[in-house]
Amino acid sequence: MRNDPQVVGAQPRSAVESQMARSKSPWKAIFAYSVLTLGAVTMLFPLYWMVLTSLEPGDVAFSSGTIHWWPSKFVWSNYPDAMEAVNIPRLYFNSILVALLGTLGQVITSSMAAFAFARLTFPGRDRLFFTYLATMMIPGSVTMIPNFVLLRMLGWIDTYQALIVPSMFSAYGTFLLRQFFMGLPSELEDAAKIDGSGYFGIFARITLPLSMPALATLTTFTFMGFWGSYMWPLIVIQRAELRTLPIGLASFVGRYSAEYSLWMAASVIALVPVLVVFVFNQRYFQEGIKMSGIKG
């Protein structure tokens, strides 16, 4: 990390650069810190307000003209109330099931296809890969309607597979992993080939273990994608028992029009898993963004 003072200190500095560093007045740092802190407060305050409202008694949160920065009374019961009003346990179960299975499916199918594109030779490979790339430009709304019609013909409306299966095959994931596999040294694979490993052995025992960072990145992004998916579940799910978290939350707001404390409590509950994933995978987020930027 560049920002780590020890690492920076370990880098040899040229004369000009240290002169530059010295000529940098403390005002520049003060300016940067003030602007960034002001911005950080703007970023955090709405989120703080969400937690604050979620703990307020209903009538206090709604009284006009008064701003208080701390709950007048901690009403923890808003949380169980919100859970019950929206049936959050069920929404959680659906969202987690769909996100886990969908992510698993996408990572497996993408990594297998990526291996074929990166490491095997077969007729028509480059043309097929180009077709994959070309479809990444097509807006989702083009394929959305035929997919809905197909699922309706299959009788899949209002099923879990409608939420999982169509999103399990990703051209983007295949592309991302193919680029990563291309960059891996092939010596290990050659050695395994000499030892008599088959293609699947090479894929499972060498390529995949070497690609953990890329796989973690794809897993994180895919999981977040499934977790936040909104339009597709809205199209294929009508029954309340099969709703995912975003759909359930949105319908809650439609039904309880002024229960702000409950809205906010439900929103906080919905955000917890995302924040947990983010905290533990923060570096994969940033790496993933940089990887996706490379194709530009």
Binding site: V8, A29, T109, A113, A116, I138, P139, S141, G296
Partner: protein
Amino acid sequence: MTNKSSKESLAALGFLLPNLVGFLVFTFVPVFVSFGMAFTNWDLFHAPRWVGLFNFEALLGWHYDPVLKQTMMNDPFFWKYVGNTLFMMMAIPVGIAGSLCLALLMNQRLKGMTIYRTIYFLPTVCSGVAVLILWKWLYNDNIGLINNLLRGLGDVTGLPLNGPDWLGDTLWAKPALMLMGLWSGIGGFNMILYLAALQGVPRELYEASAMDGASGWKTFWAVTWPSISPTTFFILIMSLIHGFQGGFMQANVMTQGGPAGSTTTIEYYLFNIAFTRFLMGYASAIAWVLFVVILILTLITWRLGGKVVHYA
């Protein structure tokens, strides 16, 4: 074909098959089906009827209205929603500039930047229905935080600072959604991309610029800006592509596209045409128009960008 290469092709087929089947069924074939559907009239419940170019004419064409004595668009709503979409896309350059400024501030060798980066990324992580509900609350006319703050500020300064009914006013609903978008996106993907780009600017260039005695402002335009132009270019194209397809979730969760259609975007219109009015053919035509516009715009940006962007 030798035995070995046919064996390799067979293995490739095995590796590809799961993904390829899904790709063909859910992406490749639907593209052609959608194109065909755009030339039909279909409500899902009766057999589709071939109507030729009728949908495109109804969407893009115009006619002379003898009563009003003026030329009218066949679907004035569509053009209004195109306008809404373009209006909301005006936030894109503001957002890009903001992300770049943040990245420049964070790229200095100061302590604690990792914490700032995490904080600025939080709204992006949280983005989704929960955050939209939060902003619906913040924008509440009478008791929302923003109007309360404005009122408080008005009391202190004596200025008439009464906030509008943000989401209920045709004038303010779009800016309100744009402001929310800036909040959630400014420290997100684009800023991380810019930070990575800034860290990749060759140090020798800065040294040379310092030797020439260039000011910070001059150095930025002479060294930094050209060096990170490929990133700007990438961000711009991706933002345009997303911008044209944007606005569905906000409209669906916060405004129902209102008031008076002022926050209905192309995507929200398309969804309603398809899934509340069941005009599958017409919706497919909208999707294809959207696709073609995105394609043309990307190509133009690509062409123009090729002249401006500096690849090291």
